[in-house]
């Protein structure tokens, strides 16, 4: 028989190894229009993997289902990890709302979420971010830290890379795997529903 370890009953005090989190500055989202009819929506390609291919299908969806909405597909000026004031300014001047995506990697999902918050809160452009479902917790963590915890976000399945046009169209016409609601219904709602004050 093994003798009990007497030390194991002794309670000890140890130090917490975690660092100190940053302070969060809360932000407010831009006012939303009641309808997208006659409005211009910018589709912003973050340039990671095949983001632009998914956005082409979003553009096709608007042409088919909401033909009164104008869409303009643009790519970020450079690497997604850098801020892009030139593009944001163009959208502010010429657009009414924006859809940015796709956040589908560990660095581009935080970047896309951050750019969406920037467009919405700094440039006053109602914006929704598209991400793949694998990154939902990453995105929630970033939007919370970014001061807009409820930043409008819609998810599609993973992966986007290498998928055919038909497969990506099915993503766009399908359900958000996180909420179970239609992807494009959520996108339209995100751009037309006021966010509660921070």
């Amino acid at each position: 028989m093994i003798a009990p370890d007497r030390k194991s009953d002794l309670k000890i005090t140890v130090l917490n190894p975690m660092g100190y989190p940053p302070e969060i500055t809360r932000k407010s989202a831009a006012p939303r229009p009641e309808s997208l009819e006659g409005k211009t929506i910018y589709l912003v390609d973050a340039r990671f993997d095949d983001s632009i291919e998914l956005l082409k299908q979003v553009q096709a969806w608007f042409a088919e289902h909401m033909s009164g909405v104008k869409t303009k597909l643009v790519s970020m000026s450079a690497y997604y990890g850098h801020d892009d004031p030139k593009t944001w300014e163009e959208i502010k001047q010429n657009g009414d709302a924006a859809i940015i995506g796709v956040g589908h990697c560990s660095t581009c999902a935080p970047a896309v979420a951050t750019h969406a918050i920037t467009l919405d809160t700094k440039y006053g452009v109602p914006t929704v971010a598209l991400h793949t479902e694998k990154f939902d917790k990453v995105v929630k963590s970033v939007t919370k830290m970014g001061g807009l915890a409820d930043a409008p976000t819609v998810y599609v399945p993973m992966p986007v890379m290498g998928k055919s046009a038909d497969e990506l169209r099915a993503y766009v016409n399908g359900l958000d795997p996180i909420t179970g609601r239609p992807v494009m219904l959520e996108v339209v709602e995100a751009l037309t529903t006021q966010l509660s004050a921070a």
Binding site: L15, G19, P22, Y79, C105, S106, P110, S141, G146
Partner: protein
Amino acid sequence: MPAANGSTPRLVEPATEDELQQHFLENHWTDGLPIVLPTEERVAAMLVHTSHSPQEVVGKMQPTANRGLWEYTVEKVAVNAVMSGAKPEYFPVILALAASEVSARGSTSSSAAAMVIVNGPIRHEIGMNAGIGAMGPYNHANATIGRAYGLLSQNLQGGSVPGETFMGSQGNNYAYNSLTFAENEERSPWEPLHVQKGFKAGDSVVSIFYGCRSTGFCLGLREKHWREHVRDMLRGVDSNTPPCLLLDPITAQQFIDRGGFTKKADLIRWVHETATRRAGEYWDLQLVQNYVYPWATFGREPEATMLKAPPDEEIRIFQEAGINVVVVGGETNGYWRIMGATYRKSVSIDDWR
């Protein structure tokens, strides 16, 4: 510098050792292995080996850009150093790593790991290994300093939790101790890494590389086709991460014998000129599309000029400034490796004594 804010409790609720081991594990505060519990006494013993105040802010870190920078003090670094099993005399090296503000637990889905190289007199003072088995689990200082770097990164940046603050799809076993070793300066035919980076030979310095996803491997350099063999190895490195040649002293000497590279800079120039790929194939790589092509279209040089090359033209994959050479190993044979690893930073260890 002022002390950090007090938003994280200094102490954990008292409990038995077994309960605390479980508590640390469940909170994702470990690397999955048992830790040395950071008692007041152990942390105090660690703090003896630096002249800096326990409440001094060392730096800020985050698992990925845009997630939010977490702050940490000397005491917080000491807590993580204790957990790793490091001896107190290693503490200045660990503080220097923390001061780099480079996380060893980046959240990249590409599953990167850090690589840590120590230069200067501290290598001998704390008994680090630069010879036989230097990159393996055979030396207490190498093992625990590297482990401390990983633990401090994940805890001081606010976590490294799969699915939330760590998204490496496959993971990376190098991350257990961040490939931590000392350079074999005494058997190197060239100036050591830290001198290349602007320090004096007598300085003690820690240098951090990041990536370590692709590893090429070879034995020596054959007289007839060594150039082609090395070129093939270089093409195996992920094209957006520059190569770091990790040479056993035997192979370092062979590069001089075969190629006449009496200066390390000459070898680096040769690697830059040798690592080529047809432009059409290069630009079609997904990593290049994601990370290089956007800069080329933005107009940044030399990428913009590279983009003008016809598809069949051989273009240089790696910029010369990003290529590094380090000598490590115990001369049991001329085995050597190429690690795809980006140089991030060198930090003075002496500043943290």
